[in-house]
């Protein structure tokens, strides 16, 4: 019996839950500006989340998936990207989308049930939210293949949850990315729950990072509540991919502090005590502790930031709420590049009906 292959999975973090450094900061994080940028992005995300929940509760938004407690994953991965890279998100990376330039108004539109929310004014090549779990992984491989074929020095970054790792789509996409050495970085937002199904019931794999072993490339774990660790690991993977070294998988371990969505009641299946325990891992508090101690972050700074973020989001919500809905013809407007003759009659019926009964 001879050993023909061996693999190890590592875990890394820079900031512990008390906001103390566990190792020297990576290059990008030296000096306060990057960390303050990351902190602001996380804070903005949390404010956005809170507003979205409020809108939902008052009937002005549809079912909404909060990212409470997971801000470091979304923000860290997006901050590691260049503008010309392409984000292929799941439905819980609001923080990444905001950082990429998708506006809060657009996000509200989408979650409010309006297609215009996916017609981003910036980040025009980024993918919209993917609801069918894991179905976006093949798209990321396709985007990365486009980059490779054109010789672009660009990278696709694909995010999905722990549950998504059980989907064949994700596996097939990773396997293809591996064998073609595509410039794509897969990031698992492991919030330890897939609605009511815990991570332990999703797979027997000791880590989710090791899913990459099956696809023939490197996988690693990071503390997903440490935005520095996420930013660093994803950033390094992106630059390796950009340099032609192929794909990577990063498992960011975090926790879903909120219900799965506003349609869910997590108390049916998990203890409040578990949730409370995880509050101490809050990625925002952690970075604030560090900034307070090491970068002179004050209460004033905090208040100022929160009120600035609040204003951005309030304005966005107002813009959202003030927008007239699309006309009924919107059903046909973008079905094909130009409407086939055969559908004109149906469109006429719609317009007539909506005039009469709408």
């Amino acid at each position: 019996m001879t050993t023909v292959a061996s693999f190890t999975i590592t875990h890394s973090r820079f900031l512990d839950p008390a906001g103390a450094l566990t190792q020297a900061l990576p290059e990008f994080a030296r000096g306060p500006s990057a960390l303050k940028r990351l902190y602001r992005a996380m804070a903005l995300t949390r404010v956005f989340d809170a507003r979205a929940l409020a809108l939902q509760r008052t009937g002005r938004l549809g079912t909404y998936a909060s990212s409470l407690g997971q801000e470091a994953v979304a923000v860290g991965l997006a901050d590691a990207m260049r503008a010309e890279d392409v984000l292929v998100p799941s439905f819980r990376e609001h923080g990444a989308q905001l950082l990429r330039g998708v506006t809060a108004t657009e996000l509200f539109l989408y979650w409010g049930g309006d297609e215009r929310g996916s017609n981003f004014a910036s980040a025009r090549e980024d993918f919209p939210v993917a609801i069918p779990v894991g179905s976006q992984a093949p798209h990321a491989a396709g985007v990365a293949l486009a980059f490779m074929l054109r010789g672009d020095q660009r990278v696709a970054v694909c995010a999905f949850g722990d549950g998504a790792t059980s989907k064949g789509d994700v596996y097939e996409a990773m396997n293809l990315a591996g064998v073609w050495r595509l410039p794509v970085v897969f990031v698992i937002n492991n919030n330890q729950w897939s609605i009511s199904v815990p991570r332990s019931a999703q797979t027997a794999a000791a880590t989710l990072a090791q899913k990459a072993v099956a696809a023939g490339f490197a996988g690693e774990q990071v503390d997903g509540n440490d935005v520095i660790a996420v930013r660093h690991a994803v950033g390094s993977a992106i630059e390796r991919a950009r340099g032609g070294e192929g794909p990577a998988l990063i498992e960011a371990i975090t926790y879903r502090l909120a219900d799965h969505t506003t349609a869910d009641d997590a108390r049916r299946y998990r203890d409040d005590a578990e949730v409370s325990r995880h509050w101490k891992d809050d990625p925002i508090a952690r970075l604030r502790l560090y900034l307070t101690r090491e970068a002179g972050w004050t209460k004033d700074d905090e208040e100022h930031l929160l009120s600035e973020c609040g204003q951005v989001i309030v304005n966005a919500a107002e813009t959202y709420l003030a927008m007239a809905p699309q006309p009924p013809s919107a059903l046909f407007d973008h079905l094909h590049a130009s409407l086939p003759d055969a559908l004109a009659a149906q469109r006429d019926i719609l317009l007539r009906e909506s005039d009469r009964h709408g």
Partner: protein
């Protein structure tokens, strides 16, 4: 007798089936402790234990394929797919295996599975949560397709589907889950899997529908009645195999037919019914058949959803046109 919602009726049928037949098991995402995202399987894990009610990983393909192995081994698996828009990864296993296992082994192995999923629009759900895709399933040889429209039907048809020795796709109109209550006797009586339900008698025009569209259809029938037009209403319910006779008999009487469905018009199951009329009711037809259906568009997100959904008004209009036809 107790009045129950459609969700409660399904739950009742599941309890009944699992009590009477040990081979019946239920699995899917969140069907256990969470009781299913719509609570159809509420309490089942507690009652039947983790060997009969299984929460699964997030893998629709293997959920369908698993049933082929379980079925071949004599189990009667009930598979819950969480929403209509996530049914597509099951098609390969359904078409290539579940629906033809009996055929390809000349009866040696078979697959008595029931694949359940909440289905259809109208509840302002997120993207991919409001799809009406029954026509895809109804084209698959060897598969039955059932769509109940009331708590009583849900109870009797689900029991029948579970007891049937072959695969059944059972689509649950989620808009009706809690929209109405009716008395449901827990008597274990199943309903036939190949008979349409004539739910209203009338001499002037036949309205054919199924699932949640029964509401708009019956509402339209009421309105028509006020206007002196007596509509006969047929609830197809068991789409495949199609009980065309019941529909044909009605149209022989009324001479007019409106078919209503939420799915996109082209290639929808309404086409099959209209085709049967064109084939077998030509001499009875006093007016063109009309389909009141969804448009051939992507199901819009919540804000425009109501423009997509066929309305009672559209049905009434169609019926009025058909009545005026000469």
């Amino acid at each position: 007798m107790v009045e129950r919602t459609l969700v409660e009726a399904l739950n009742l049928a599941l309890v009944r089936a699992m009590t009477e037949d040990e081979r019946v098991i239920l699995y899917g995402q969140d069907v256990g402790i969470d009781g299913g995202v719509f609570r159809v399987s509420e309490g089942l894990l507690r009652q039947f234990g983790a060997k009969r009610v299984l929460d699964t990983p997030l893998s629709e393909t293997v959920l369908a394929g698993l049933a082929v192995g379980l079925g071949a081994q004599g189990f009667r698996p009930i598979v819950e797919i969480q929403f209509d828009g996530f049914l597509y990864p099951t098609l390969d296993q359904l078409i290539n295996h579940a629906a033809r296992l009996r055929t390809r082994t000349r009866g040696r192995l078979s697959c008595p599975m029931v694949l359940r999923a909440p289905y259809g629009g109208g509840i302002h759900a997120p993207e991919h949560h409001s799809e009406s895709n029954e026509a895809l399933f109804a084209h698959i040889p060897g598969l039955r397709v059932v769509i109940p429209s009331s708590p009583r039907q849900a109870y009797g048809l689900l029991l029948a589907a579970i007891r049937d020795p072959d695969p059944v796709v059972f689509l649950e109109p989620k808009r009706l889950y809690r929209a109405l209550r009716e008395e449901v006797a827990d008597d274990g009586a199943s309903l036939p899997l190949d008979r349409c339900f004539a739910v209203r008698e009338g001499r002037d025009v036949t309205l054919v529908a199924w699932g949640a569209m029964m509401r708009e259809t019956l509402e339209a029938a009421e309105q028509l009645s006020s206007a002196g037009v007596e509509a006969e209403v047929i609830d197809v319910a068991t789409l495949k195999p199609l009980d065309a006779d019941t529909i044909l008999r009605s149209v022989e009487k009324t001479g007019r037919c409106i078919i209503v469905h939420e799915a996109p018009l082209t290639g929808g199951f309404g086409a099959e019914i209209a085709a049967r009329l064109a084939e077998h009711a030509l001499t009875s037809l006093l007016a063109p058949v009309v389909r009141v259906a969804g448009y051939d568009t992507v199901m819009p997100l919540a804000k425009l959803e109501h423009f997509y959904m066929p309305s009672a008004a559209r049905i009434v209009d169609a019926a009025s046109r058909v009545m005026a036809y000469a």
